[in-house]
């Protein structure tokens, strides 16, 4: 079992409830009907962007708990993260929720890395219910990673738009009518020495490819409704498709492939290459896709969330952008 990377979960931990909340701009998303909470204020009525970010996480978590018919005290662990320095919005939301809490950071792949970790806790049978997920708020993320919101910098066509939104779910023991985690692959950091912070999709595509390739090799013969990456954007997903095509891993994947970031804002060119952020994969996976799984529209989906593990400091020091991708295979019987 050493260095296996891919793990099968025999106990079939199920996602029993989810909640998704987004900001005002996300009303343009074709996924809008599947968002539980849509706010008109990008700061969620709070004084600062960061406070709004924390509020978004808190409210989404509360809703996920409520929709599952639980109390906060039923949650054994909150496992979550965001993109702001030291994940303070998540920390502050955890303070309000007062559940046992562990913070995680895998950049935009946090939605899936928390789900994988939660699956292990469930598999060990020591925990009953784990609340997992991630969120991002456009303004606070831009402030940290790029320019002030009102600064008139021209973004190149490879640029992406950080989603304001959060997606959280509760993982519990197997339930027949809920989608369950069949298997998961933990990513390795892949670095193709790209340095452009306004072209994250290109940097992350090889990491996604690496994880997908490994996962498929460990689950030979499985057929998926589709594979969905987190936030490669239009540019990054075109690159990933090219990588899959040229490597000959599995040609059918080229058609059965989707990207949450590329689809998030529809075909609006103003969002350039598409959406990104920890909230992008979380809202799409645990909102619309989860809903379709519940309806048994689809049976088997491979979620591959990608994250660019850079900081403003690291790219100013001339470091390249290391990336990671974590995969979870969700099934519905």
């Amino acid at each position: 079992m050493k260095n296996a990377r891919t793990y099968q979960f025999a106990s079939k931990p199920s996602i029993v409830s989810t909640a998704v909340a987004v900001g005002p701009l996300e009303k343009q998303s074709p996924f809008l009907p599947h968002f539980d909470l849509v706010y008109d204020d990008e700061r969620f009525g709070q004084e600062t962007n960061e406070k709004g970010h924390a509020y978004l996480i808190e409210e989404t978590c509360k809703l996920a708990i409520m929709k599952g018919g639980f109390q906060t005290t039923d949650i054994d662990l909150l496992l979550a993260g965001d993109l702001v320095n030291q994940i303070t919005p998540t920390n502050f939301a955890a303070r309000e929720l007062a559940t046992p809490f562990m913070g995680m950071f895998s950049a935009c792949a946090t939605s899936i890395s928390t789900l994988i970790t939660a699956s292990f806790f469930l598999e060990s049978n020591l925990m009953e219910r784990v609340l997992f997920g991630s969120a991002s708020q456009h303004n606070s993320v831009e402030k940290q990673f790029r320019y002030p919101i009102e600064y008139g910098a021209q973004k190149p066509p490879t640029g992406q738009w950080t989603v304001t939104g959060g997606g959280f779910g509760i993982l519990s023991h197997f339930q027949r009518d809920k989608p369950y985690v069949h298997s998961a692959t933990i990513g390795k950091v892949v670095d193709c020495e790209l340095k452009d912070p306004l072209d994250m999709g290109s940097a992350m595509a090889p990491a996604a490819f690496d994880t997908i390739q490994y996962h498929l090799s460990q689950n030979k013969g499985t057929s998926y409704d589709f594979v969905m990456t987190g936030d490669l954007g239009k540019n990054g997903s075109a690159l990933l498709q090219e990588l899959i095509r040229t490597s000959g891993v599995s040609s059918y994947l080229v058609d059965q492939y989707r990207d949450a970031g590329a689809e998030f804002y529809g075909n609006n060119d103003k969002f350039l290459s598409g959406a990104s952020g920890a909230g992008c994969s979380a809202t799409v996976y645990f909102g619309p896709i989860y809903a379709e799984l519940l309806k048994k529209q689809w049976k088997k989906i491979l979620f591959v969330a990608t994250g660019a593990l850079l900081s403003p400091l690291s790219f100013q020091q001339g470091e390249s952008i290391p990336c990671i991708a974590h995969a979870v295979e969700l099934s519905m019987d």
Partner: protein, 121 residues
């Protein structure tokens, strides 16, 4: 007067095209591009070329950020002409600071009245 405005339009536009080429072809960040342009303005003034350029293009030469390098250098040189080497240091902000002081004053005022909005452009 109209010819002056047209010249300002054309020259200012061309200066910005140079900036755009630095963005797109040389792949410089805005901060790098603007710093470079200020240095160019300063060097041009060293050769005595920026003042004639202002005479020719008016606002086409004074509005782009290059003129900032020009006026700093101009101040330093004017003072150096009078007081020798030490004037190089003391004269720098003599001629101009209106851009900087306006930016500071209006920056604080803006911080007092405005809040940022994350709207897509």
């Amino acid at each position: 007067m109209i010819s002056t405005i047209i010249i300002a339009f054309v020259v200012g536009g061309l200066v910005c095209v140079v900036g755009q080429l630095l963005f797109d072809v040389a792949k410089l960040t805005p901060a790098h591009t603007l710093s470079l342009m200020v240095v160019i303005g300063s060097v041009l003034d060293g050769f005595g070329l920026y003042e004639p350029f202002i005479d020719f293009a008016g606002a086409g030469a004074t509005v782009p950020i290059m003129s900032f390098g020009n006026s700093l250098t101009h101040g330093a040189m004017a003072e150096a002409e009078k007081h020798g080497l030490i004037g190089v240091l003391t004269g720098m902000f003599e001629v101009t600071s209106s851009g900087i002081s306006a930016a500071i004053v209006f920056g604080v005022i803006a911080a007092l009245i405005f809040k940022s909005k994350g709207k897509v452009s």
